[in-house]
Structures are given as structure tokens and as C-alpha cells.
Subunit: 681 residues, 2 copies
């Protein structure tokens, strides 16, 4: 055993002996300890800060003397004076090992730090972005050994960082010379490497040591809205979040009407491509403005979207997605030049689009799979991302299935008589007293329930304008719980229900939720066509989930994850009363928020996650609901709203459902039959 | 030894035994015989035509029976009826081996055919372009196994052609779907592969079997003119050649004035970049028009140019090239997207720029090196490419040196009192009778000498407008040979020379070559400043060559190659009389024509030649004339025009030089001293 000093790094536990005088950074590199450095040990960047520990460390078998490291030096003092350094910290490139020592690498000095996610159950993200900064000193040109400035820069990267076979973008070649001279042949280089086995590419160079950071965008491109998170690629932190309406809306509210627009109008796809890219650039300008950064510092972007949005964004006519067999032009992940998509990011930026799972199950579903990782789950998890289409994943570590179900826009408040988007003034929460049949509700923009003091004042600016998706789910479920609705979805008359709020409307009845006419406001009712629309939507969702359960051969799932903005707002209880999702203990139903956006963020911050989801997507079993006879069967049977005559083991402990029917006859039996058939499946 | 039939292929001599019934194409592939096929053996493309030989082949040890191949079949008959097939030819994919057979692969059936160059001494080019066409049948989409159309196309390339890991341009992804459907899932794919170890890239797909060809451009981008050859990438043939003036001329006649323009005018480099690219596109349109092809069928292009043109074309400010140490932004070869240079070629086309040798020795010199291959020469060869700068290569298979010498524009007729570009009306050839001192000459646009009958008529349309570069060289050399000029370059008076054509002009004399004033035309004289300009130019050229000879340590070279348009027009005798090039047997001085353009064509037709020249350029020793004291010394001593008082062993057998001097005194001694010093060097 050598007599060289022993160095133990925490938290990794990596250890080794090094000759006295070895810089801590050198020791860390040789042991493969995750210790950052941008300047390559020149005492400029201070990324390699470490904390030596002194005293007796029984568990490491080391006693650390006070003089275990070389003395505090001038470079460290200068850095401390200029920028500040926490007491006890040293610069790893300056401090040299003299005797046995234990050295802690604080999280901020780790390259591959953990980015902690808010939800307790979610895995943290290991930071490993596609863009990396390094500082190099380049040899000056010499007439006698003529070689290009770029070639000498590449030589420096090889010699000083062992980074070989570097490519560079035309943009860099074009702008290289003045930067090298401005920096006195010392420059900071942004290197892009989207895959470990690909040669790195120079994206940008700054004169001298660049002390700033670079950014990436995680973008969730939805049919209705485009939402983006701007992330600091050095810390992994979200520095701004922003969203805009998808400007394609003027060509059609939902996906199929946009596909139709492109079919009916020559060049329509090109128009929509231009619109979404222009929208994207408006969003980028907005989010850069919010974060007060130069948009050209955005050097990477990840996009998730459904297949139609994907094709229109990339510039592919979505024609084939409008008809069987719903063939994608390409299903694999795409890495493209931002410039080729006319995106106003850094001129050398590449963008990454997650793979599509199938013609109806897009990169957004892939992103949900990356975020929620059903393929790593021990128990059987159902993940539903509800939008105009519901994307459904079911599986565990053995097997994952995916399908898409055409829920239509009812869940988003469209096709509902008093429906509206989730915006201030929309009723979002509803309760109905089972005794009095009277409602109380809450409106977006106010935290006060309608029967609480101060409600009127709290909605003075927004008013009450309509009812949004989560509101319509709740009011229908509450109507059912209050006995105002039978299992087939028919609203009872005032006589049948004993509530004056059940008013005649056409040949059926409606439930009067709010009458604002006295003040010039709307009269908000829930009509039978509203209930039918929701029944269709929830039947589609439920049937998709059931179909996947059939394929796996199960009757129940262990847990349910509701993803998407809608999923974040609906109450699990009401969703289950309505029969939107299969039975499951209520405490096993969680909301993942914008899981697609989170998946995009994971892929942005960790390039290995891109390879991971590409592999996962290839392994996911794709089920096409449009050609599955059992889907139609489930759909027909799933339109009823469950009632208490059936065994309802989980919900009955939570809520008690009255047994009512307003049908002329047989309707209830139908619904029960539906449940029975389902159980047989 | 197996009893299977023996198959011998000619001209390769490759042989092997195959089970009876093996298609000839299959046997050829297994033996690595160079037999073309685009359709993969489906009897569509007819590229695999072969000629079986029958009878006794002692040298192959084979006797070929009449039934050695399977019978002529329907596919072959159909092809012959539709397209014609030379008698005796068979389709290699249809004809099957039954007995021992000798099979000839005619040149047009070889993928890597030889493209023969016109000059006897030049190596042929083995055709191996970057673009290749293959025909594939793609699986149709299946809802139950959703994968993108592109992914199924790639699968087909792998299964049917063993072509793996294929990338594709965004353009292809965007346009793929309708093409696949139009072709009924049968398509022809253009694959681009600029390097053997790079993954191939889909550039284009055609519905069904595409029977046409694809094209490439070899472009010589000069300071004054841009010249292009359009080549058929399947046959290697030049199908059209065309040229235009470089539109950058409006920013400055020569390189340094353009560099100055960019230094003096903010955005000047961008203006010049735009101008040259626009000119390029005009040239492409013109050459496509001449060949009557769609410019989008041009799928590859190779560019050669000097460093300043290189930088301006790529979009790099040439600022640094205007001052020591003449640092190139990049010296390596570049492969760029045509679109990134705003070139109107196929949208997925890549373009290739040869490497630059040094700040003054560009990709054009690299192309000359590729064409003339001094690095493969057994004897010591001096290659000079004369333009505004002369690029000079000297070497053999052991060692090659390169430099550039600032000859200025005199050789191109600029800075000459009656000078003009080589265009109709310019005097290009001159002879002076040593007895009478009277000239005869020829004018561009006419084959008749000025003292021959019919001369006046032959120049009726062009007139006589001036004297071009080759004309000025000849007239000065002839003046020297006729004793009108002394070694220092002074023109004698009428009294001294006995010629009335030696007329006073300022403080010296001029030689009256042509007086057209009676007919309203110009008076064309050769003045002493003209001779000084040519002396400066030839001294620069000679000094560069001498400098390289010094470096190698030789006094003579084995042969001289004159490259460039100018090199093609000047006579070796006159160049040597003038002292432009070092002494060398006259029959060892050859003209290579536009060797830079030829080098571009070689790199276009054979991708391995690109790697070859990249390696060669790295090995070439670069000499910077601007900082070599010996260059200045040579230059000072080389301005004289050699005379017969010196030993002139080679030329004296060819021409006899009178010993004259019109100097007040000492001038001749100067020149002689120069020669002496040179011989000492």
C-alpha cells in the first residue's frame, strides 16, 4: 500500500491515494467524482468549490489533520474578495492534497446535480443537459504553420479537455475570428451533444470567460394552448413559465377540423405551420422578456404535442392522420435545427421532439410516459391525460399499453350550453345539498363559495359568465348524488325531484344553477344535451381505459394518475361518480398536473432521458381504439352514470347514491346491464 | 472441390462456385464484383447488364457451354422490346448460372466506372459519387403496428439493401407521405453519403422506379469569373459547362481591394457574400437551362476558390486575410447545406469546399494538387496556377511544398497601357521578325495571322481592341529575342534598334505594335511601364518557384505544369524567355488547362478523392512568401529578362538571344548578377 495521502470524496464515497501536491480537482477527475469545472482548473470559474472536513472520520477510517490541504492561496483570496466564498469552502483547482483528507462536493459543485420535483412520488431529475460550457486558451495563428482559427480551437479542446472530433455550426465558423481576438485567444465555448456517441458541436463562443448561464425551453404544444417553461441549463431551475393561445385556433377548434382545413384548402397546412411557428416565436419573445434574457441564450428546446400538432409544427401535411390507417410521416424522435423551423432561438440551436407512440397517441403521451414512468411502476397504474383527445397509458414494469380516445371538447367546456374555457368568471366547483337540492359553487378568480359572506364582492370584476370543464363534471356528479338525475342521465322534473330548480326545457328538463338575468348576467343551466355531451366524453374516456384493462386482463387498477390541466382541476370523487375512470380507491387517484410539460422538461434537462423514452415508446403496445370492436361495446355500455343499486364497494363508503330513475322505464336496467357486461369483460 | 458451376467475371478476374440456379447478380454481389443495380434484382432498372462468353477459355481454365446460363426469359424480352438490349447482353438479375461460365461486366454496368480524362498523362477518375439511387418496396402502414412511414422506408432499405442507420433531411420527412402513396409503396431513393463511415442520408424520393439521373456541379469560383461543369453523377460525364463574371467585381477588381472594401464599409462583407451567392444562382440557372434539366436534380456541388473568395462565399469576413498573419477562419474542408448558403440546388443538397492550404493558398490550389497530384509524381514537378495570385506547388511523392506569390493583375492584361481581358479583339499571339523587327499577330476570334490574306475580313466584327495577358507575354519575349529590349527591360530607341517602331514615349521608348487610328481604332503600343509591370509579375512568380526550390535544395525541376486559363494560353517558350518559370526542357513544360476546375470535378465524382486531398493538404509544407527574406532577394534579382551572355543551356538550342543593352551602363551587369546570385542560392 502506497504512503501517498488518501482522499475520500463525499457524498460519492469514492476514494484513492494521490501524490502529495495533487490538486483536489485532479484527484476528483481521476476518480470520476462529479466535480464541476468550466475553466479547466485555472481558478477563474469557481465551479469546483469543495469543503474539506477536519477531524476523526471513523467510518472512512481517516483522521484529517488541519494541514491536510495546501494553504489558502492568492487565487482563492482574490476570488473570495471579488465574488465571495462560503467559509470553509476551497477551490478544488487550487487546494492541493498534502495528507489524508475527506472532501465534500456540495450539490452546486456537481455537474450532474439533482433537480428536485415538487411531487413527493416523482423521481428527481439528474441534470445532464445537451449544452455544456468550457473555457479554453487557443494558440495564436502562426504564418509558418498556417492552420485555421477553428482548427486551433478544436486542438485546444482536445488538449485541454480531451474533447475530440468536434464539429461546428456554420454560424460559429462565420463569427469565430473577431471573438477569438476580442478574448485575447481565451474563449468560453458552448458545446452541444444530444447523444453520448455523437461528436460534440460548437454552438457558440464568447470572448474570455463567460460567467453567465444558458437556457433551454420545454414546450407543451397543445391544440388550444402552447405552454413553455424556460429552464436554466446550468442549475436545472425553471426561471419563467408562460403560455399563449395556439394561433391555429382560427383554422379550427379541434384537431379534426384543422386536418379538414388542410384537406379542403390548398396550402392550408402551410398556413397552419406558419401560424404555429409564429405563435411559438411570440411565446419565446414573451418568456424571454419575463425572464429578462436575450432569446439567443436559449440553446435547446424540447417539444411535446399530439401527432397532428407535431406534423403541422414540423411542416408535414396532416392529411394521413385524418383517415385510417392514421399513418404518421415519422414516429421516431426528431432532432432538428431550430432555424429550419424558423424559430427565433440561438442560430445554432437544435430542437428535440419526443417520439410519437401512434397515429393518435403523440409525443405528448410519450412525455407523460416519461414523467409518470408507468414502465417503472411496481403496481398497475392507469395514466389518463384528458384533452380533446384522452391519451391513456396502462401498465407496470412488465408491460405498458397505450391508446387514445376521442373524448371531444365537452371536458373543456365546449359543446355545453353554458360552457366556457377555464377562465375568470367560470364556475369551477359545485356542491348540491342532497336535502334542499340547492347548489353552492365557486368561480375562477375567487376563493369564496357562493353561499359565503363576501362572495358578491369577490366576483365584482369577473362576474359569473359560464361553467368550465371541472364545473360541469362536478355539477353533473352532484346532481346524480342529489337524486336529480337518473342513471341514464335524464334530469327529473320539479315534481319528480321536489326541486324548483328542475325547470322544463324543450321536451326534457334543465337544472338552474344560477340566474343572473336580474343583473344583466347569464342564466346558467345544465341541460339534458349538456349531460349527453359529458356522457359521450366520459364514455369514450372510460372505454379506452377499459379496453386496455381487457388487453391486460384485469378488472381493476392499483392507482390512477390524472394528467393535464383538466386532470389537475377535477375532483377524483366526482370523476368516479360520473364513471369517467375505472373504480379505484379514492386515495389512489392523484393528479400529476401538466405531466406532458414535465416530460418535456425532463427530456430537456437530461439527454439520457431522451434515449430512455425512445426505447420505452418502442416497447409500448399500441392499441387503436377505432378498430377495436370491444371499444364500441364498452362505449355503448359506459354512457350510464353509476348508481347505488349496483355493488359499488369503494364509493359507497364515501358517498351514498340514491336510487332514482326518471326514465319511462328500462333506462336504469340498461345502465345496470352496462355495468354487468363490463364486469364480464 | 465442389461440383457447383464455376463463375469467372471479367475484367475483374473474380471467380467462385455457386449452386446451379444462382442469379448472376447474386454471384457478382457475393464475390464483390462491381455490377450495378438500382432496383435490387427486380428486372426493372436493367443496370446489371452482362455479357456471357461462350467457348473455350484456356486462361480461365473454363469451357463455356451454350446452356451455361438459364434461358432468355420474359422479363428480359419485355425489357428488350421496350428499351432495347444489345445482342448477346443478358440481365444479371434474370440470367441464372447453370454451368461453368465466363461473364463480362461492360463498363456501363459498373458502379465504379472509370471516367477518362482527356490528357494522356492524367489519371482517370473512378466514379464514386456521394449520391446513389436505390429502389425499394415499402411495407404499408398497419394500424395495429403503428410506425411512421419514414421508419418503414428505413426498414425496407435495411432489409432490401442492408443500408442501416439512415438519416433523412427535414425536407424528405415533410414530403414523404404523398410520394409513397403515389408510387404504390414502391419508391426510388436518392441516398447521400459524403463519407464512407457516415450514416447515409435520404435526400429525395421519387414515386416508383425513377429512370433518370442526378447531377452534380464542379465550380471554380475565381476572383474574376465563376466557371462550372455540370456532371451526370451516374455516368460521370460533363453535360454542360458555363461561366459568368464574378459579380463581386463591382466591389474591387482584385482580392485585396475586396478585402479593403469589407474593412472600409460596415456590412461590406455581407454585401459581397450576397453578390457572389446571387451570381452562383444565376450561373446554376444558366447551366441548368443549357442542359435542359431541373435545377433541383443537382444534388451535390464542389467548390474551389482562393481563401478570400472562400471566406466571402461561406459568409466569413475576410478581414484577417488582409493582414499578417493571414489567419484563415477555418482551413479544413467544409461540408455545408446548400440551403445555408442560399444556393438554389436540391433542397437537401450538401456542398463540399476543398480545404485551404494556407492564408494565401486556397482550396483552388488544393484542387490543382488533386488534379495534378505532385504528391504522386516520381519526378520533381513544379505546378504554377497563374492568376492575380500565382499559386505554386513543388514536389514529388516524398515531399510537396506550396506557396502563393502576389503577381498582381498584369498577367490578366490589367495595369498594361493597351491591356484588356482575354476577349474577342484582343491580341493573343505575337511574333517579331528578328531581321525586320516587324510584328505579326493573331487576335482572339480569328485564326488568321495579321500578315496572312483574309486577316482584315476575319476581324471585321471584333476589330483590334487591345492586348491580353498571353499577348503581352509573347510580345515582350519577342521584343527581347529581336534585340529591341535589353536585359533590364529597357526599350531601345529607333536609332539603337534600327526599327522605326521604337518610338519615343515620355522619357523612354515604346514599341508600336499596331496603329489603328486611321480607321478610328486604337494605337497599341508596348511601353516601358508595361514591361515594368510584367517584370514585377514574372519576378513574383519566379521568386515563389525559386523559394520552394531553395527549400528543397535543387537548382532545376524535372517538369513544369502551367495551370489555369492563362497557363493554357501562354507559350512555354515565351514564358521561359521572359524568366517567368525556372529553366526546364521545353518539352517538359505542359499546360493542364483549368486544373482547379478539374480538381473540383474529381472531388465531385469520387468522394474518396475528398479524403485523399484532405490528407495531402495536411502534409503539404506551407511557405509564406511574405516573411521569407529569400523571397525578397529572389524578387529583386528576378526582374531582369535573361540574355545570352549567361550560360543558357536549354534555351540556346531553341532560340538565340542577341546581346544588347540600352542602359546608360551597369544595368546588364545587374541582371547578370541576379542570375549569378540565383545560381549560388
Amino acid at each position: 500500500m502506497s504512503n501517498d495521502p488518501l482522499v475520500v470524496f463525499t457524498p460519492s464515497g469514492k476514494r484513492g491515494r494521490f501524490p502529495a501536491g495533487t490538486p483536489v480537482l485532479t484527484a476528483a477527475r481521476q476518480l470520476g467524482v462529479d466535480l464541476d469545472s468550466v475553466c479547466g482548473g485555472r481558478g477563474i470559474c469557481s465551479k469546483c468549490q469543495i469543503t474539506p472536513s477536519y477531524g476523526d472520520f471513523a467510518k472512512h477510517g481517516v483522521t484529517v489533520a488541519d494541514d491536510a490541504l495546501s494553504d489558502w492561496n492568492k487565487v482563492e483570496q482574490r476570488y473570495k474578495d471579488k465574488r465571495g466564498l462560503i467559509d470553509g469552502r476551497r477551490l478544488g483547482c487550487q487546494a492541493r492534497v498534502e495528507k489524508d483528507v475527506v472532501i465534500d462536493v456540495p450539490p452546486e459543485s456537481q455537474v450532474h446535480k439533482q433537480v428536485v420535483r415538487k411531487r413527493a412520488e416523482a423521481r428527481d431529475i439528474t441534470l445532464n443537459p445537451s449544452v455544456r460550457l468550457v473555457y479554453v486558451e487557443v494558440e495564436e495563428p502562426d504564418m509558418h504553420k498556417p492552420s485555421g482559427d477553428l482548427e486551433r480551437l478544436c486542438e485546444a479542446l482536445d488538449k485541454q479537455w480531451q474533447i475530440k472530433d468536434v464539429n461546428s455550426d456554420l454560424h460559429v465558423v462565420q463569427t469565430l475570428q473577431p471573438v477569438l481576438r476580442k478574448g485575447g485567444w481565451k474563449v468560453t465555448v458552448a458545446l452541444h451533444q444530444a447523444e453520448a456517441n455523437q461528436p460534440p458541436r460548437i454552438m457558440h463562443i464568447w470572448p474570455g470567460y463567460y460567467d453567465g448561464t444558458v437556457y433551454g425551453l420545454a414546450v407543451d404544444l397543445g391544440s388550444t394552448t402552447i405552454a413553455a417553461h424556460l429552464c436554466d441549463l446550468k442549475s436545472g431551475a425553471v426561471v419563467a413559465s408562460s403560455g399563449i393561445m395556439n394561433p391555429q385556433i382560427r383554422f379550427g377548434e379541434d384537431l379534426m377540423s384543422r386536418v379538414s382545413y388542410s384537406m379542403m384548402n390548398k396550402g392550408g397546412d402551410t398556413e397552419m405551420t406558419r401560424a404555429v411557428r409564429e405563435g411559438m416565436n411570440a411565446l419565446f419573445a414573451q418568456i424571454s422578456g419575463e425572464a429578462n434574457i436575450d432569446p439567443s441564450l436559449i440553446m435547446d428546446a424540447v417539444f411535446v404535442c399530439n401527432p397532428v400538432m407535431h406534423h403541422l409544427f414540423v411542416g408535414i401535411d396532416p392529411f394521413e392522420l385524418g383517415q385510417a390507417p392514421f399513418a404518421l410521416a415519422t414516429s421516431n424522435a426528431l432532432t432538428l435545427k431550430a432555424q429550419d423551423l424558423n424559430l427565433d432561438l440561438h442560430p445554432a440551436a437544435r430542437v428535440y421532439l419526443l417520439p410519437c407512440i401512434a397515429g393518435h397517441v403523440g409525443a405528448d403521451a410519450a412525455a407523460v410516459a416519461l414523467s409518470e414512468a408507468p414502465d417503472k411502476s411496481e403496481d398497475l397504474v392507469l395514466v389518463v391525460d384528458v384533452g380533446t383527445n384522452a391519451e391513456i397509458l396502462l401498465g407496470n414494469k412488465d408491460r405498458v399499453l397505450a391508446c387514445s380516445s376521442p373524448t371531444g371538447p365537452a371536458f373543456e367546456g365546449a359543446q355545453i350550453s353554458s360552457g366556457q374555457r377555464a377562465a375568470p368568471g367560470a364556475i369551477e366547483r359545485v356542491e348540491i345539498n342532497p336535502e334542499t337540492k340547492e347548489p353552492r359553487f365557486r368561480v375562477i378568480g375567487s376563493d369564496i363559495w357562493s353561499d359565503e359572506p363576501g362572495f358578491r364582492e369577490s366576483i365584482a370584476t369577473t362576474g359569473i359568465s359560464g361553467i368550465c370543464g371541472s364545473g360541469i363534471i362536478e355539477v353533473i356528479a352532484e346532481m346524480r348524488l342529489a337524486g336529480l338525475l337518473d342513471a341514464s342521465g335524464l334530469i327529473g322534473s320539479a315534481a319528480q325531484t321536489g326541486s324548483a330548480r328542475c325547470v322544463p326545457e324543450g321536451r326534457t328538463h334543465a337544472y338552474l344553477l344560477w340566474d343572473g338575468t336580474a343583473e344583466g348576467g347569464p342564466r346558467i343551466t345544465v341541460t339534458n344535451p349538456d349531460i349527453r355531451a359529458i356522457q359521450m366524453a366520459k364514455a369514450a374516456l372510460y372505454s379506452g381505459a377499459r379496453l386496455l384493462m381487457d388487453k391486460i386482463g384485469v378488472e381493476t387498477v392499483d392507482r390512477v394518475v390524472l394528467a393535464g390541466a383538466f386532470g389537475a382541476h377535477i375532483s377524483a370523487k366526482h370523476a368516479m361518480v360520473l364513471g369517467m375512470i375505472p373504480d379505484c380507491p379514492l386515495d389512489k387517484v392523484t393528479s400529476a398536473g401538466n405531466a406532458a410539460g414535465t416530460g418535456a422538461r425532463i427530456a430537456l434537462l437530461n439527454i439520457e432521458a431522451r434515449r430512455e423514452i425512445e426505447t420505452t415508446v418502442r416497447q409500448i403496445e399500441k392499441i387503436e381504439t377505432a378498430v377495436e370492436p370491444r371499444f364500441q361495446e364498452h362505449f355503448v355500455n359506459a354512457s350510464a352514470i353509476p348508481n347505488a343499486t349496483e355493488p359499488f364497494p369503494i364509493l359507497k363508503t364515501v358517498v351514498s347514491l340514491p336510487d332514482v330513475s326518471f326514465n319511462a322505464g328500462g333506462g336504469d336496467g340498461d345502465a345496470a346491464g352496462g355495468r354487468r357486461r363490463r364486469r364480464r369483460g
